[in-house]
């Protein structure tokens, strides 16, 4: 902390401006600001700067050459028209939406079912609930690796089980056929997201007072009707938060897709995130990569606004 000299601006005009005459109050204000300063600086450097830089790069011709010459000429909207006009863009956008919507629907429904299941108290439920977290905790790339071997066309556990049960002898190429790959990738992502959904929804269920169910039971509402008239309305704020957070996380998923299919076959699983990675770090066209990244950011921001509105409502309830 620098001593004196500078005027304590935060307190406005109320403090005396004589050098060295800090009121104890102003001193404490400065110290308090110091608590927050490192974090604010960090956020500015590692989130603020990248966003600004990315927005600018989106309008520049920024390639490997830039690293030698330092030149990144402005190109207007050339990157955007190249990205939007490319033959894969429609496919990539559709994949992103399908991947996000499919993952969310699956994670949420299965997560909710498990949360409701675990709401009942039974022996070992706590232990089982914490074991359930494992898929969410281990590195995503480790999960991708094992799923790749499970989904392998010829020797994968899934196809062997299907053939063994005489359900499908055809050995479908889960990760190699363009029509199945997106389904497979969504399936794996659902598996990864279930623990998160279950945990948050379970927490929300715990907040619902038991008396409400007892009162509902007196009115004859049990089972499904209790769920519809008691559980669901009271769980709604938590549901919104789960869905919006889930969509923001899912939009930017990269590990799983790169690990399972690398965006293939024939771009069948290419999303905005993986394509942005390809453009920047495979084709070294950082300008186009930034342009696509900005579109992804815009989409995330849309959901962020939804999230903030939802969480404010959740907090006020």
């Amino acid at each position: 902390m620098a001593e004196a000299g500078t005027s304590p601006g935060i307190l406005g005009g109320t403090t005396s401006r004589r050098a060295g005459a800090w009121s104890p109050r102003a001193r404490i204000r400065y110290l308090e600001t110091g608590f927050l300063l490192p974090a604010v600086l960090y956020l500015l450097l590692f989130f603020g700067y990248p966003v600004v830089k990315n927005v600018l790069t989106g309008f520049q011709r920024y390639t490997t050459k830039t690293f030698y010459t330092g030149q990144a000429p402005w190109t207007g909207v050339a990157n955007y028209s190249a990205v939007l006009g490319s033959s894969v863009f429609g496919r990539v956008l559709l994949n992103t939406l399908l991947f996000t919507a499919g993952s969310l629907a699956g994670q949420f429904l299965l997560g909710l079912a498990l949360a409701v299941f675990f709401r009942r108290r039974f022996p070992l439920s706590g232990l089982l609930r914490s074991l359930l977290l494992l898929p969410w905790l281990i590195p995503l790339i480790a999960s991708s690796a094992v799923w790749r071997w499970i989904l392998d066309e010829d020797n994968g556990a899934l196809n062997r089980a299907l053939a063994g049960l005489h359900l499908s002898a055809a050995h479908p190429g889960w990760l190699t056929s363009p029509s199945l790959a997106l389904v497979a990738v969504v399936g794996v992502n659902i598996w990864i997201g279930i623990p998160f959904n279950t945990t948050i929804l379970y927490g929300g269920l715990q907040e619902i007072p038991e008396e409400l169910y007892e009162a509902a039971a007196l009115d004859g509402a049990t089972g499904w009707r209790a769920f519809r008239h008691v559980t669901w309305p009271l769980l709604r704020p938590v549901v919104t938060v789960v869905l919006v957070l889930g969509s923001v996380y899912t939009l930017k998923v990269l590990d799983i897709i790169l690990g399972l299919t690398h965006g293939g076959p024939a771009n069948a699983t290419q999303t905005l995130a993986t394509q942005a990675y390809n453009l920047s770090f495979q084709q070294f066209d950082f300008g186009q990569g930034a342009a696509l990244g900005n579109l992804l950011l815009l989409l995330s921001l849309l959901f962020a606004i939804l999230y903030l509105r939802a969480s404010r409502r959740a907090a006020s309830e």
Binding site: F46, F47, N54, R121, A145, K252, L258
Partner: protein
């Protein structure tokens, strides 16, 4: 609504339902067995004697640790790098996030809500956008292929989350405790170090745990901010294994098991912090 780990209504006694309770336990075990099958498979394949391209036996009847030996010799260094990066991120993240969380929870700032807004928004920024910009900045600063560079980038995953988790906790610290310290003549720094930090131990553990897991599991920054073999976390090691045609799955799976051990250990040791952290970071 967050860090209260165990629900209070646990004692609602329902004795007649005890027998039915065990039936739910059985169903729960079946559900969990299905959900955790991939993890079993990871372990099973890792213990197979050969990496076999043909059908893996369903049970490792003749377990072999060859996969682990090969994994350790090929990826041991990468595991170590991951450990250094993850521990470094924990230290940096807590050092930056703990004071900030305290400030946001206890001091009255006019722009506190703006900072909080920034933290929430930062969690929405896709990693690829950050990586894209960091790559050229790191290139200029000579931070590519460096442990420091990855610690700095990975802390970006942990700091916003840690602030949210710890703020939720510190907001509930009784104001009287801090006031008592101030009556004794302690300034904000003394009060923070000698009163708030010790009392927030659980929140620090929770935040540290998740920062560790985020940094340990980071793939994107490892992939984009390293270009040589010099500094290579184990996630990237696994990716390189499966990037080409795999002919030795037992080594790949052994590496995946080794890379998953921290998650399992932390879950076993700090079970209640893990559940608290997941809900704490999301629903403030």
């Amino acid at each position: 609504m967050t860090i209260s780990a165990t629900p209070i209504s646990a004692t609602t006694a329902r004795r007649p339902a005890v027998r039915r309770g065990w039936r739910y336990t059985a169903l729960g075990i079946v559900l969990l067995a299905v959900l955790l099958f991939p993890l079993y498979w990871m372990l099973n394949v890792s213990l197979q004697p050969s990496g076999s391209a043909v059908g893996t036996p369903w049970i490792p009847l003749h377990p072999s640790f060859g996969g682990y030996a090969r994994a350790l010799s090929q990826q041991g260094g990468h595991l170590l790098i991951s450990l250094v990066i993850a521990l470094g991120s924990v230290l940096l993240s807590l050092a930056v996030a703990a004071p900030a969380a305290y400030a946001l929870a206890q001091f009255r700032f006019r722009w506190a809500s703006a900072v909080l807004f920034g933290i929430l928004i930062s969690q929405m920024v896709p990693g690829i956008v950050v990586a894209n910009a960091l790559y050229s900045a790191y290139n200029d600063l000579r931070l590519l292929n460096s442990v420091i560079g990855l610690i700095l980038a990975d802390s970006g995953l942990g700091i916003p989350f840690a602030i949210l988790v710890m703020r939720a906790f510190m907001g509930r610290l009784p104001a009287s405790v801090v006031e008592a310290a101030q009556v004794d003549g302690a300034g904000p720094i003394r009060a923070f170090c000698s009163v708030v930090l010790p009392m927030s131990r659980n929140a620090l553990i929770t935040a540290g745990l998740f920062t560790f897991l985020f940094a340990w599991g980071d793939f994107l920054f490892a992939l984009t901010l390293t270009t040589t073999d010099a500094v290579r976390p184990v996630t990237l090691g696994i990716y390189q294994y499966i990037g080409s045609y795999v002919n030795d799955w037992s080594t790949v799976m052994a590496t995946a098991v080794l890379a998953s051990i921290p998650a399992v250990l932390l879950l076993v040791i700090a079970q209640r912090y893990v559940a608290a952290g997941i809900s704490g970071g999301a629903v403030k």
